[in-house]
Protein backbone atom coordinates (compact mmCIF):
# COMPACT_ATOMS: atom_id res chain seq x y z
CA UNK A 1 0.00 0.00 0.00
CA UNK A 2 1.22 3.52 -0.80
CA UNK A 3 0.52 6.46 1.51
CA UNK A 4 1.51 10.11 1.27
CA UNK A 5 4.15 11.76 3.41
CA UNK A 6 1.64 13.91 5.30
CA UNK A 7 -0.52 10.91 6.11
CA UNK A 8 2.56 8.99 7.23
CA UNK A 9 3.67 11.82 9.52
CA UNK A 10 0.24 11.90 11.16
CA UNK A 11 0.23 8.12 11.56
CA UNK A 12 3.71 8.26 13.05
CA UNK A 13 2.65 10.86 15.63
CA UNK A 14 -0.36 8.74 16.50
CA UNK A 15 1.82 5.65 16.91
CA UNK A 16 4.15 7.58 19.21
CA UNK A 17 1.20 8.74 21.31
CA UNK A 18 -0.05 5.16 21.47
CA UNK A 19 3.35 4.16 22.78
CA UNK A 20 4.16 1.90 19.81
CA UNK A 21 7.08 4.10 18.74
CA UNK A 22 9.51 5.92 21.02
CA UNK A 23 9.99 9.69 20.44
CA UNK A 24 13.56 8.92 19.41
CA UNK A 25 12.33 6.25 17.01
CA UNK A 26 9.80 8.66 15.52
CA UNK A 27 12.52 11.21 14.77
CA UNK A 28 14.79 8.61 13.20
CA UNK A 29 11.99 7.22 11.04
CA UNK A 30 11.01 10.75 9.93
CA UNK A 31 14.63 11.56 9.08
CA UNK A 32 14.99 8.32 7.13
CA UNK A 33 11.83 9.04 5.12
CA UNK A 34 12.90 12.63 4.46
CA UNK A 35 16.33 11.53 3.19
CA UNK A 36 14.83 9.27 0.54
CA UNK A 37 14.97 10.49 -3.06
CA UNK A 38 11.95 12.53 -3.99
CA UNK A 39 11.73 11.52 -7.63
CA UNK A 40 12.53 14.09 -10.29
CA UNK A 41 11.74 17.07 -8.09
CA UNK A 42 10.42 20.48 -9.08
CA UNK A 43 13.36 21.53 -11.24
CA UNK A 44 13.22 18.29 -13.21
CA UNK A 45 9.47 18.50 -13.61
CA UNK A 46 9.76 22.07 -14.91
CA UNK A 47 12.53 20.96 -17.25
CA UNK A 48 10.33 18.22 -18.69
CA UNK A 49 7.36 20.59 -19.02
CA UNK A 50 9.59 23.11 -20.77
CA UNK A 51 10.68 20.43 -23.21
CA UNK A 52 7.08 19.48 -23.89
CA UNK A 53 6.36 23.14 -24.73
CA UNK A 54 9.43 23.32 -26.97
CA UNK A 55 8.31 20.12 -28.65
CA UNK A 56 4.98 21.70 -29.48
CA UNK A 57 6.78 24.80 -30.71
CA UNK A 58 8.75 22.61 -33.11
CA UNK A 59 5.55 20.90 -34.22
CA UNK A 60 3.74 24.14 -34.99
CA UNK A 61 6.89 25.28 -36.75
CA UNK A 62 5.99 22.58 -39.26
CA UNK A 63 2.67 24.22 -40.00
CA UNK A 64 3.88 27.82 -40.06
CA UNK A 65 6.89 29.47 -41.72
CA UNK A 66 7.04 26.91 -44.39
CA UNK A 67 7.43 29.01 -47.48
CA UNK A 68 9.95 31.55 -46.24
CA UNK A 69 13.06 29.39 -46.17
CA UNK A 70 14.87 27.31 -48.74
CA UNK A 71 14.56 23.58 -48.40
CA UNK A 72 18.22 23.21 -47.48
CA UNK A 73 17.94 25.76 -44.70
CA UNK A 74 14.94 23.93 -43.28
CA UNK A 75 16.81 20.63 -43.36
CA UNK A 76 19.80 22.29 -41.69
CA UNK A 77 17.56 23.54 -38.87
CA UNK A 78 16.06 20.08 -38.29
CA UNK A 79 19.43 18.35 -38.19
CA UNK A 80 20.97 21.07 -36.02
CA UNK A 81 18.04 20.82 -33.61
CA UNK A 82 18.25 17.04 -33.46
CA UNK A 83 22.01 16.78 -33.00
CA UNK A 84 22.05 19.83 -30.71
CA UNK A 85 19.54 18.22 -28.33
CA UNK A 86 21.60 15.06 -27.98
CA UNK A 87 24.84 17.06 -27.67
CA UNK A 88 23.18 19.02 -24.86
CA UNK A 89 22.13 15.72 -23.27
CA UNK A 90 25.74 14.47 -23.39
CA UNK A 91 27.06 17.67 -21.81
CA UNK A 92 24.39 17.58 -19.09
CA UNK A 93 25.14 13.91 -18.33
CA UNK A 94 28.80 14.82 -18.00
CA UNK A 95 27.94 17.49 -15.46
CA UNK A 96 25.76 15.01 -13.55
CA UNK A 97 22.63 17.00 -14.35
CA UNK A 98 20.82 13.81 -15.30
CA UNK A 99 17.29 15.15 -14.99
CA UNK A 100 17.98 17.92 -17.50
CA UNK A 101 19.88 15.51 -19.72
CA UNK A 102 16.78 13.33 -19.90
CA UNK A 103 14.71 16.41 -20.76
CA UNK A 104 17.15 17.12 -23.62
CA UNK A 105 16.76 13.52 -24.83
CA UNK A 106 12.99 13.95 -24.86
CA UNK A 107 13.45 17.12 -26.91
CA UNK A 108 15.64 15.15 -29.34
CA UNK A 109 12.89 12.54 -29.71
CA UNK A 110 10.32 15.30 -30.34
CA UNK A 111 12.52 16.92 -33.01
CA UNK A 112 13.05 13.51 -34.60
CA UNK A 113 9.27 13.17 -35.01
CA UNK A 114 8.90 16.74 -36.25
CA UNK A 115 11.71 16.07 -38.71
CA UNK A 116 9.91 13.04 -40.12
CA UNK A 117 6.73 15.10 -40.62
CA UNK A 118 8.56 18.11 -42.02
CA UNK A 119 10.57 16.08 -44.53
CA UNK A 120 7.42 14.22 -45.56
CA UNK A 121 5.81 17.60 -46.12
CA UNK A 122 8.74 19.01 -48.08
CA UNK A 123 8.88 16.05 -50.41
CA UNK A 124 5.14 15.47 -50.71
CA UNK A 125 5.59 12.02 -49.22
CA UNK A 126 2.18 10.58 -48.50
CA UNK A 127 3.10 6.90 -48.21
CA UNK A 128 1.46 5.08 -45.34
CA UNK A 129 1.07 7.60 -42.50
CA UNK A 130 1.23 4.94 -39.75
CA UNK A 131 4.66 3.91 -41.05
CA UNK A 132 5.93 7.39 -40.24
CA UNK A 133 4.41 7.17 -36.74
CA UNK A 134 6.02 3.75 -36.28
CA UNK A 135 9.47 5.11 -37.21
CA UNK A 136 8.99 7.87 -34.66
CA UNK A 137 7.82 5.40 -32.00
CA UNK A 138 10.84 3.17 -32.66
CA UNK A 139 13.11 6.21 -32.35
CA UNK A 140 11.56 7.00 -28.96
CA UNK A 141 11.79 3.35 -27.88
CA UNK A 142 15.44 3.06 -28.95
CA UNK A 143 16.40 6.25 -27.16
CA UNK A 144 14.42 5.14 -24.12
CA UNK A 145 16.14 1.75 -23.88
CA UNK A 146 19.69 2.72 -24.81
CA UNK A 147 19.79 5.96 -22.83
CA UNK A 148 17.58 4.65 -20.02
CA UNK A 149 15.19 7.53 -20.56
CA UNK A 150 11.87 6.83 -18.87
CA UNK A 151 10.32 9.92 -20.46
CA UNK A 152 11.20 8.64 -23.94
CA UNK A 153 9.79 5.21 -23.12
CA UNK A 154 6.62 6.87 -21.86
CA UNK A 155 6.45 8.96 -25.05
CA UNK A 156 6.77 5.81 -27.15
CA UNK A 157 3.53 4.40 -25.67
CA UNK A 158 1.06 6.91 -27.19
CA UNK A 159 3.01 6.80 -30.45
CA UNK A 160 2.64 3.02 -30.61
CA UNK A 161 -1.06 3.47 -29.76
CA UNK A 162 -1.50 5.95 -32.62
CA UNK A 163 0.41 3.67 -35.00
CA UNK A 164 -1.63 0.62 -34.11
CA UNK A 165 -4.99 2.38 -34.09
CA UNK A 166 -4.24 3.87 -37.52
CA UNK A 167 -3.09 0.51 -38.89
CA UNK A 168 -6.22 -1.24 -37.66
CA UNK A 169 -8.37 1.42 -39.31
CA UNK A 170 -6.48 0.97 -42.60
CA UNK A 171 -6.30 -2.82 -42.37
CA UNK A 172 -9.83 -3.04 -41.08
CA UNK A 173 -8.77 -5.71 -38.60
CA UNK A 174 -7.21 -6.02 -35.13
CA UNK A 175 -3.53 -5.11 -35.27
CA UNK A 176 -1.56 -7.79 -33.44
CA UNK A 177 1.94 -6.23 -33.76
CA UNK A 178 0.96 -3.79 -31.02
CA UNK A 179 1.30 -6.65 -28.54
CA UNK A 180 4.95 -7.08 -29.55
CA UNK A 181 5.55 -3.36 -29.07
CA UNK A 182 3.80 -3.47 -25.68
CA UNK A 183 5.88 -6.49 -24.63
CA UNK A 184 9.15 -4.74 -25.50
CA UNK A 185 7.99 -1.54 -23.82
CA UNK A 186 6.84 -3.45 -20.74
CA UNK A 187 10.16 -5.31 -20.53
CA UNK A 188 12.04 -2.00 -20.76
CA UNK A 189 9.92 -0.46 -17.98
CA UNK A 190 10.38 -3.64 -15.96
CA UNK A 191 14.16 -3.49 -16.30
CA UNK A 192 13.99 0.11 -15.14
CA UNK A 193 11.85 -0.97 -12.16
CA UNK A 194 9.58 1.96 -12.91
CA UNK A 195 6.13 1.33 -11.53
CA UNK A 196 4.23 3.96 -13.56
CA UNK A 197 5.60 2.14 -16.60
CA UNK A 198 3.50 -0.87 -15.63
CA UNK A 199 0.41 1.33 -15.73
CA UNK A 200 1.43 2.90 -19.04
CA UNK A 201 1.93 -0.52 -20.63
CA UNK A 202 -1.30 -1.88 -19.13
CA UNK A 203 -3.21 1.18 -20.34
CA UNK A 204 -1.76 0.69 -23.83
CA UNK A 205 -2.86 -2.95 -23.98
CA UNK A 206 -6.26 -2.16 -22.42
CA UNK A 207 -6.86 0.56 -24.99
CA UNK A 208 -5.94 -1.91 -27.72
CA UNK A 209 -8.39 -4.51 -26.38
CA UNK A 210 -11.20 -1.95 -26.11
CA UNK A 211 -10.44 -0.68 -29.62
CA UNK A 212 -10.93 -4.20 -31.02
CA UNK A 213 -14.65 -3.83 -30.28
CA UNK A 214 -14.87 -0.71 -32.42
CA UNK A 215 -13.24 -2.04 -35.57
CA UNK A 216 -16.00 -2.65 -38.08
CA UNK A 217 -16.21 -6.20 -39.20
CA UNK A 218 -16.44 -6.68 -42.98
CA UNK A 219 -20.21 -6.36 -42.58
CA UNK A 220 -20.92 -2.67 -42.07
CA UNK A 221 -22.08 -1.50 -38.65
CA UNK A 222 -21.51 -4.84 -36.99
CA UNK A 223 -19.19 -4.56 -34.04
CA UNK A 224 -17.65 -7.17 -31.82
CA UNK A 225 -17.62 -5.69 -28.33
CA UNK A 226 -18.23 -9.11 -26.88
CA UNK A 227 -14.62 -9.97 -27.81
CA UNK A 228 -13.46 -7.04 -25.66
CA UNK A 229 -15.67 -8.18 -22.78
CA UNK A 230 -14.49 -11.80 -23.15
CA UNK A 231 -10.79 -10.84 -23.20
CA UNK A 232 -11.32 -8.57 -20.18
CA UNK A 233 -13.14 -11.25 -18.19
CA UNK A 234 -10.65 -13.96 -19.15
CA UNK A 235 -7.64 -11.86 -18.15
CA UNK A 236 -9.40 -10.84 -14.94
CA UNK A 237 -9.76 -14.57 -14.23
CA UNK A 238 -6.05 -15.12 -14.83
CA UNK A 239 -5.04 -12.26 -12.53
CA UNK A 240 -7.45 -13.45 -9.84
CA UNK A 241 -5.91 -16.89 -10.09
CA UNK A 242 -2.43 -15.39 -9.82
CA UNK A 243 -3.46 -13.39 -6.75
CA UNK A 244 -5.01 -16.28 -4.88
CA UNK A 245 -3.43 -19.40 -6.21
CA UNK A 246 0.12 -18.41 -7.02
CA UNK A 247 1.11 -16.90 -3.64
CA UNK A 248 0.56 -20.27 -2.02
CA UNK A 249 2.85 -21.98 -4.49
CA UNK A 250 6.21 -21.29 -2.97
CA UNK A 251 8.39 -20.71 -6.00
CA UNK A 252 11.23 -18.59 -4.75
CA UNK A 253 10.91 -18.39 -1.01
CA UNK A 254 12.42 -14.93 -1.41
CA UNK A 255 9.41 -12.71 -1.01
CA UNK A 256 6.99 -12.36 1.83
CA UNK A 257 4.20 -13.15 -0.60
CA UNK A 258 5.73 -16.52 -1.29
CA UNK A 259 5.97 -16.29 -5.02
CA UNK A 260 7.93 -13.64 -6.78
CA UNK A 261 8.71 -12.86 -10.35
CA UNK A 262 12.27 -11.60 -10.76
CA UNK A 263 12.14 -10.06 -7.32
CA UNK A 264 8.79 -8.34 -7.84
CA UNK A 265 5.95 -9.92 -5.90
CA UNK A 266 3.10 -11.30 -7.97
CA UNK A 267 0.62 -9.29 -5.94
CA UNK A 268 2.13 -5.91 -6.74
CA UNK A 269 1.82 -6.70 -10.45
CA UNK A 270 -1.39 -8.73 -10.62
CA UNK A 271 -3.51 -6.45 -8.43
CA UNK A 272 -3.31 -3.33 -10.65
CA UNK A 273 -3.54 -5.49 -13.78
CA UNK A 274 -6.78 -6.95 -12.43
CA UNK A 275 -8.14 -3.40 -12.43
CA UNK A 276 -7.20 -2.95 -16.10
CA UNK A 277 -8.79 -6.28 -17.04
CA UNK A 278 -11.98 -5.24 -15.23
CA UNK A 279 -11.91 -1.94 -17.11
CA UNK A 280 -11.68 -3.74 -20.46
CA UNK A 281 -14.49 -6.13 -19.51
CA UNK A 282 -16.69 -3.25 -18.41
CA UNK A 283 -15.94 -1.26 -21.57
CA UNK A 284 -17.00 -4.25 -23.67
CA UNK A 285 -20.18 -4.91 -21.69
CA UNK A 286 -21.03 -1.22 -21.67
CA UNK A 287 -20.67 -0.94 -25.45
CA UNK A 288 -22.74 -4.08 -25.97
CA UNK A 289 -25.57 -2.46 -24.03
CA UNK A 290 -25.39 1.17 -25.10
CA UNK A 291 -23.34 1.46 -28.30
CA UNK A 292 -24.95 -1.42 -30.05
CA UNK A 293 -28.71 -1.60 -30.01
CA UNK A 294 -29.72 -4.84 -28.27
CA UNK A 295 -33.24 -6.11 -27.75
CA UNK A 296 -34.87 -5.29 -24.43
CA UNK A 297 -34.40 -8.82 -23.10
CA UNK A 298 -30.70 -8.83 -24.07
CA UNK A 299 -30.23 -5.39 -22.53
CA UNK A 300 -31.85 -6.49 -19.27
CA UNK A 301 -29.71 -9.63 -19.13
CA UNK A 302 -26.48 -7.76 -19.92
CA UNK A 303 -27.32 -5.04 -17.39
CA UNK A 304 -27.99 -7.63 -14.68
CA UNK A 305 -24.70 -9.42 -15.43
CA UNK A 306 -22.76 -6.15 -15.51
CA UNK A 307 -24.21 -4.88 -12.23
CA UNK A 308 -23.61 -8.25 -10.55
CA UNK A 309 -19.98 -8.28 -11.71
CA UNK A 310 -19.45 -4.70 -10.53
CA UNK A 311 -20.95 -5.51 -7.13
CA UNK A 312 -18.78 -8.61 -6.89
CA UNK A 313 -15.73 -6.49 -7.65
CA UNK A 314 -16.63 -3.89 -5.01
CA UNK A 315 -17.18 -6.59 -2.38
CA UNK A 316 -13.97 -8.38 -3.39
CA UNK A 317 -12.01 -5.12 -3.31
CA UNK A 318 -13.33 -4.28 0.14
CA UNK A 319 -12.63 -7.71 1.55
CA UNK A 320 -9.08 -7.94 0.21
CA UNK A 321 -8.15 -4.29 0.78
CA UNK A 322 -7.58 -3.54 -2.92
CA UNK A 323 -8.98 -0.05 -2.84
CA UNK A 324 -8.48 0.73 -6.53
CA UNK A 325 -10.91 -2.08 -7.37
CA UNK A 326 -13.52 -0.59 -5.03
CA UNK A 327 -13.24 2.81 -6.70
CA UNK A 328 -13.31 1.35 -10.19
CA UNK A 329 -16.42 -0.58 -9.14
CA UNK A 330 -18.15 2.54 -7.81
CA UNK A 331 -17.35 4.47 -11.01
CA UNK A 332 -18.51 1.60 -13.20
CA UNK A 333 -21.68 1.19 -11.18
CA UNK A 334 -22.53 4.89 -11.49
CA UNK A 335 -21.81 4.88 -15.24
CA UNK A 336 -23.93 1.77 -15.73
CA UNK A 337 -26.91 3.13 -13.76
CA UNK A 338 -26.72 6.51 -15.50
CA UNK A 339 -26.56 4.90 -18.95
CA UNK A 340 -29.45 2.57 -18.08
CA UNK A 341 -31.45 5.57 -16.97
CA UNK A 342 -30.90 7.41 -20.27
CA UNK A 343 -31.56 4.24 -22.26
CA UNK A 344 -34.79 3.27 -20.58
CA UNK A 345 -36.35 6.54 -19.54
CA UNK A 346 -39.42 7.43 -21.57
CA UNK A 347 -39.17 4.24 -23.58
CA UNK A 348 -39.73 0.73 -22.39
CA UNK A 349 -40.12 1.27 -18.67
CA UNK A 350 -41.18 4.83 -18.10
CA UNK A 351 -39.33 7.07 -15.69
CA UNK A 352 -41.45 6.47 -12.57
CA UNK A 353 -40.98 2.72 -12.76
CA UNK A 354 -37.26 3.27 -13.36
CA UNK A 355 -36.90 5.44 -10.29
CA UNK A 356 -38.86 2.91 -8.23
CA UNK A 357 -36.55 0.09 -9.26
CA UNK A 358 -33.43 2.23 -8.97
CA UNK A 359 -34.54 3.37 -5.52
CA UNK A 360 -35.03 -0.20 -4.33
CA UNK A 361 -31.63 -1.19 -5.73
CA UNK A 362 -29.88 1.78 -4.11
CA UNK A 363 -31.49 1.11 -0.73
CA UNK A 364 -30.51 -2.54 -0.98
CA UNK A 365 -26.98 -1.43 -1.82
CA UNK A 366 -26.91 0.95 1.12
CA UNK A 367 -27.87 -1.92 3.41
CA UNK A 368 -25.18 -4.06 1.83
CA UNK A 369 -22.60 -1.29 2.15
CA UNK A 370 -23.54 -0.82 5.80
CA UNK A 371 -22.99 -4.51 6.50
CA UNK A 372 -19.72 -4.54 4.59
CA UNK A 373 -18.54 -1.45 6.44
CA UNK A 374 -19.25 -3.18 9.74
CA UNK A 375 -17.38 -6.20 8.46
CA UNK A 376 -14.36 -4.12 7.58
CA UNK A 377 -14.44 -2.31 10.92
CA UNK A 378 -14.38 -5.63 12.71
CA UNK A 379 -11.54 -6.79 10.52
CA UNK A 380 -9.53 -3.65 11.21
CA UNK A 381 -10.35 -3.91 14.91
CA UNK A 382 -9.19 -7.49 14.96
CA UNK A 383 -5.75 -6.54 13.65
CA UNK A 384 -3.02 -6.66 16.28
Amino acid sequence: MWIGRGQFARDLARWREAGWVTPDGEQKIAAEIASRRRGPGLAGALGILGVVLLGFAVMSFVAANWQDMSRLLRLAIIFAGLLGSYAAAAVLFKRDLDVFAHAAILLGVAIFGAGIMLIAQMYHIEGRPPDAVLVWALGALGAGILLRSRASLAAAAPLFALWSGWESVLLHAPHLPLLVAAAVLGAAFFAERWRPGLHITAALVTGWVIWIGYIDSPMPREQAHWITAAIGLASAGVFLWLLHRAPHVDVSGASEFGASLFGVSVETVASPLLGYAALAAFAGLFAMQFVQDPSTATLALLAAVTLALLLAMIVYGLRTGQRHLVWLGYCGFSAEILALYFQTVGSLLGSSLFFLIAGVIVIALAALAWRLHGLEERRMGALP
Partner: protein, 206 residues
Protein backbone atom coordinates in the same frame (compact mmCIF):
# COMPACT_ATOMS: atom_id res chain seq x y z
CA UNK B 1 16.72 -25.47 -13.63
CA UNK B 2 14.40 -24.16 -10.97
CA UNK B 3 12.32 -21.07 -11.48
CA UNK B 4 14.29 -19.31 -8.76
CA UNK B 5 17.59 -19.86 -10.54
CA UNK B 6 16.01 -18.82 -13.84
CA UNK B 7 14.61 -15.65 -12.35
CA UNK B 8 17.94 -14.89 -10.71
CA UNK B 9 19.73 -15.38 -14.02
CA UNK B 10 17.40 -12.96 -15.74
CA UNK B 11 17.77 -10.43 -12.92
CA UNK B 12 21.51 -10.74 -13.20
CA UNK B 13 21.42 -10.27 -16.98
CA UNK B 14 19.24 -7.18 -16.58
CA UNK B 15 21.60 -5.72 -13.99
CA UNK B 16 24.60 -6.38 -16.24
CA UNK B 17 22.83 -4.79 -19.21
CA UNK B 18 21.84 -1.71 -17.21
CA UNK B 19 25.38 -1.31 -15.90
CA UNK B 20 26.71 -1.62 -19.45
CA UNK B 21 24.27 1.03 -20.66
CA UNK B 22 25.31 3.34 -17.82
CA UNK B 23 29.00 2.84 -18.59
CA UNK B 24 28.66 3.60 -22.29
CA UNK B 25 26.07 6.32 -21.85
CA UNK B 26 27.89 9.12 -23.65
CA UNK B 27 28.78 7.06 -26.76
CA UNK B 28 25.20 5.77 -26.75
CA UNK B 29 23.85 9.33 -26.82
CA UNK B 30 25.97 9.80 -29.95
CA UNK B 31 24.71 6.50 -31.38
CA UNK B 32 21.04 7.42 -30.87
CA UNK B 33 21.61 10.90 -32.34
CA UNK B 34 23.42 9.42 -35.35
CA UNK B 35 20.77 6.73 -35.91
CA UNK B 36 17.90 9.22 -35.84
CA UNK B 37 19.80 11.66 -38.06
CA UNK B 38 20.50 8.81 -40.51
CA UNK B 39 16.81 7.94 -40.68
CA UNK B 40 15.98 11.54 -41.62
CA UNK B 41 18.94 11.73 -44.03
CA UNK B 42 17.80 8.52 -45.69
CA UNK B 43 14.31 9.96 -46.21
CA UNK B 44 15.86 12.99 -47.93
CA UNK B 45 18.36 10.96 -49.98
CA UNK B 46 15.70 8.48 -51.07
CA UNK B 47 13.43 11.23 -52.38
CA UNK B 48 16.22 13.28 -53.96
CA UNK B 49 17.52 10.28 -55.89
CA UNK B 50 14.00 9.32 -56.94
CA UNK B 51 13.34 12.84 -58.21
CA UNK B 52 16.70 12.90 -59.99
CA UNK B 53 16.68 9.47 -61.61
CA UNK B 54 13.06 8.29 -61.78
CA UNK B 55 11.13 7.97 -65.00
CA UNK B 56 8.75 10.85 -65.63
CA UNK B 57 5.09 10.35 -66.45
CA UNK B 58 2.13 12.72 -66.44
CA UNK B 59 -1.31 11.85 -65.10
CA UNK B 60 -4.60 13.74 -65.04
CA UNK B 61 -5.69 14.55 -61.50
CA UNK B 62 -8.78 15.67 -59.67
CA UNK B 63 -8.16 17.71 -56.53
CA UNK B 64 -10.42 16.72 -53.65
CA UNK B 65 -9.90 18.76 -50.51
CA UNK B 66 -7.37 21.38 -49.44
CA UNK B 67 -6.68 21.39 -45.72
CA UNK B 68 -4.61 19.61 -43.10
CA UNK B 69 -4.53 20.54 -39.43
CA UNK B 70 -0.88 19.92 -38.67
CA UNK B 71 1.01 19.86 -41.90
CA UNK B 72 0.21 23.21 -43.41
CA UNK B 73 -1.97 23.42 -46.49
CA UNK B 74 -2.12 20.70 -49.02
CA UNK B 75 -4.37 19.47 -51.76
CA UNK B 76 -5.62 15.91 -51.84
CA UNK B 77 -5.40 14.49 -55.33
CA UNK B 78 -7.30 11.68 -56.93
CA UNK B 79 -6.32 10.01 -60.19
CA UNK B 80 -8.07 7.95 -62.82
CA UNK B 81 -5.67 5.15 -61.90
CA UNK B 82 -6.81 5.36 -58.25
CA UNK B 83 -9.75 3.14 -59.20
CA UNK B 84 -8.40 -0.17 -60.43
CA UNK B 85 -10.82 -2.46 -62.29
CA UNK B 86 -11.59 -5.57 -60.24
CA UNK B 87 -10.97 -7.96 -63.14
CA UNK B 88 -7.26 -6.97 -63.07
CA UNK B 89 -6.91 -8.63 -59.65
CA UNK B 90 -7.61 -11.92 -61.43
CA UNK B 91 -9.94 -13.30 -58.82
CA UNK B 92 -7.61 -12.48 -55.90
CA UNK B 93 -9.70 -9.81 -54.22
CA UNK B 94 -7.19 -7.73 -52.23
CA UNK B 95 -7.44 -7.33 -48.48
CA UNK B 96 -7.19 -3.81 -47.04
CA UNK B 97 -3.54 -2.78 -46.79
CA UNK B 98 -2.20 -5.26 -49.35
CA UNK B 99 0.79 -4.05 -51.38
CA UNK B 100 0.10 -4.29 -55.09
CA UNK B 101 2.10 -3.49 -58.21
CA UNK B 102 -0.06 -1.80 -60.82
CA UNK B 103 1.23 -1.92 -64.39
CA UNK B 104 0.19 1.14 -66.42
CA UNK B 105 -0.01 1.20 -70.22
CA UNK B 106 -0.65 4.12 -72.49
CA UNK B 107 -4.10 4.04 -74.03
CA UNK B 108 -4.80 5.33 -77.55
CA UNK B 109 -5.50 8.86 -76.27
CA UNK B 110 -2.11 8.94 -74.52
CA UNK B 111 -3.56 8.56 -70.99
CA UNK B 112 -2.05 5.98 -68.63
CA UNK B 113 -4.45 3.19 -67.69
CA UNK B 114 -4.03 0.22 -65.32
CA UNK B 115 -3.27 -2.86 -67.42
CA UNK B 116 -2.37 -5.44 -64.80
CA UNK B 117 -2.04 -5.98 -61.05
CA UNK B 118 0.45 -8.31 -59.33
CA UNK B 119 1.54 -8.96 -55.77
CA UNK B 120 5.23 -8.97 -56.75
CA UNK B 121 7.05 -6.67 -59.18
CA UNK B 122 6.05 -7.96 -62.66
CA UNK B 123 8.81 -9.96 -64.34
CA UNK B 124 8.48 -8.58 -67.86
CA UNK B 125 6.55 -5.34 -68.01
CA UNK B 126 6.24 -3.94 -71.55
CA UNK B 127 9.06 -1.62 -72.60
CA UNK B 128 6.77 1.40 -72.54
CA UNK B 129 4.81 0.35 -69.47
CA UNK B 130 5.28 1.87 -66.02
CA UNK B 131 4.89 -0.10 -62.79
CA UNK B 132 3.59 1.71 -59.69
CA UNK B 133 3.73 0.36 -56.13
CA UNK B 134 0.40 0.93 -54.43
CA UNK B 135 -1.62 -0.11 -51.39
CA UNK B 136 -5.07 -1.59 -51.90
CA UNK B 137 -7.46 0.48 -49.79
CA UNK B 138 -10.00 -2.33 -50.01
CA UNK B 139 -12.22 -1.33 -47.09
CA UNK B 140 -15.81 -2.08 -47.95
CA UNK B 141 -16.81 1.48 -48.80
CA UNK B 142 -13.92 1.70 -51.30
CA UNK B 143 -14.85 -1.44 -53.21
CA UNK B 144 -17.58 -1.26 -55.84
CA UNK B 145 -18.88 -3.94 -58.18
CA UNK B 146 -16.36 -2.84 -60.81
CA UNK B 147 -13.33 -1.36 -59.07
CA UNK B 148 -11.19 -1.06 -55.93
CA UNK B 149 -9.31 2.01 -54.68
CA UNK B 150 -5.51 1.83 -54.70
CA UNK B 151 -3.31 4.57 -53.22
CA UNK B 152 0.20 5.25 -54.51
CA UNK B 153 1.55 7.79 -52.01
CA UNK B 154 1.03 10.60 -54.50
CA UNK B 155 -2.33 11.71 -53.18
CA UNK B 156 -1.26 14.91 -51.47
CA UNK B 157 0.66 17.96 -52.60
CA UNK B 158 1.72 20.65 -50.16
CA UNK B 159 1.24 24.26 -51.15
CA UNK B 160 2.26 27.51 -49.46
CA UNK B 161 0.19 28.10 -46.33
CA UNK B 162 -3.04 29.96 -46.97
CA UNK B 163 -3.01 29.33 -50.69
CA UNK B 164 -4.64 25.89 -50.64
CA UNK B 165 -8.17 27.10 -51.18
CA UNK B 166 -7.13 29.74 -53.69
CA UNK B 167 -5.24 27.19 -55.74
CA UNK B 168 -8.11 24.75 -55.47
CA UNK B 169 -10.69 27.32 -56.57
CA UNK B 170 -8.43 28.19 -59.45
CA UNK B 171 -7.87 24.63 -60.59
CA UNK B 172 -11.24 23.02 -60.01
CA UNK B 173 -12.69 24.05 -63.34
CA UNK B 174 -9.44 23.75 -65.23
CA UNK B 175 -7.43 20.80 -66.31
CA UNK B 176 -4.88 19.61 -63.74
CA UNK B 177 -2.07 17.20 -64.31
CA UNK B 178 0.56 15.74 -62.02
CA UNK B 179 4.10 15.39 -63.24
CA UNK B 180 5.39 12.25 -61.51
CA UNK B 181 8.67 10.41 -61.24
CA UNK B 182 8.65 6.65 -60.79
CA UNK B 183 11.59 4.73 -59.34
CA UNK B 184 12.85 1.32 -60.39
CA UNK B 185 11.00 -0.31 -57.46
CA UNK B 186 7.67 1.30 -58.37
CA UNK B 187 7.74 4.12 -55.79
CA UNK B 188 6.22 7.28 -57.19
CA UNK B 189 6.70 10.92 -56.23
CA UNK B 190 5.13 14.17 -57.40
CA UNK B 191 7.59 16.46 -59.18
CA UNK B 192 5.16 19.19 -60.12
CA UNK B 193 1.50 20.00 -60.52
CA UNK B 194 0.55 21.43 -63.90
CA UNK B 195 -2.51 23.67 -63.65
CA UNK B 196 -3.82 24.77 -67.04
CA UNK B 197 -0.30 24.63 -68.38
CA UNK B 198 1.28 26.45 -65.39
CA UNK B 199 3.75 24.36 -63.42
CA UNK B 200 3.73 24.47 -59.59
CA UNK B 201 7.10 22.90 -58.88
CA UNK B 202 8.00 20.87 -55.88
CA UNK B 203 10.87 23.02 -54.67
CA UNK B 204 14.47 22.14 -55.42
CA UNK B 205 16.85 21.37 -52.56
CA UNK B 206 18.82 24.60 -52.96
Amino acid sequence: MSTTAGSRDVMHAVAVALAWLARWRLPLVGLVAAAQALVLAYMVFDRESLLAHGREITLDVRPVDPRSLFRGDYVILSYDISRVPNELFQGNAPRPGDRVYVRLSRAGDGAWKPAGVTKVFPANPGADDVVLLGIADARWWNVTKDSTIVTYGIESFFVPEGSGRAIEAEIRPGKVQANLVVGANGTAAIKALVVDGTRIEAEPLF
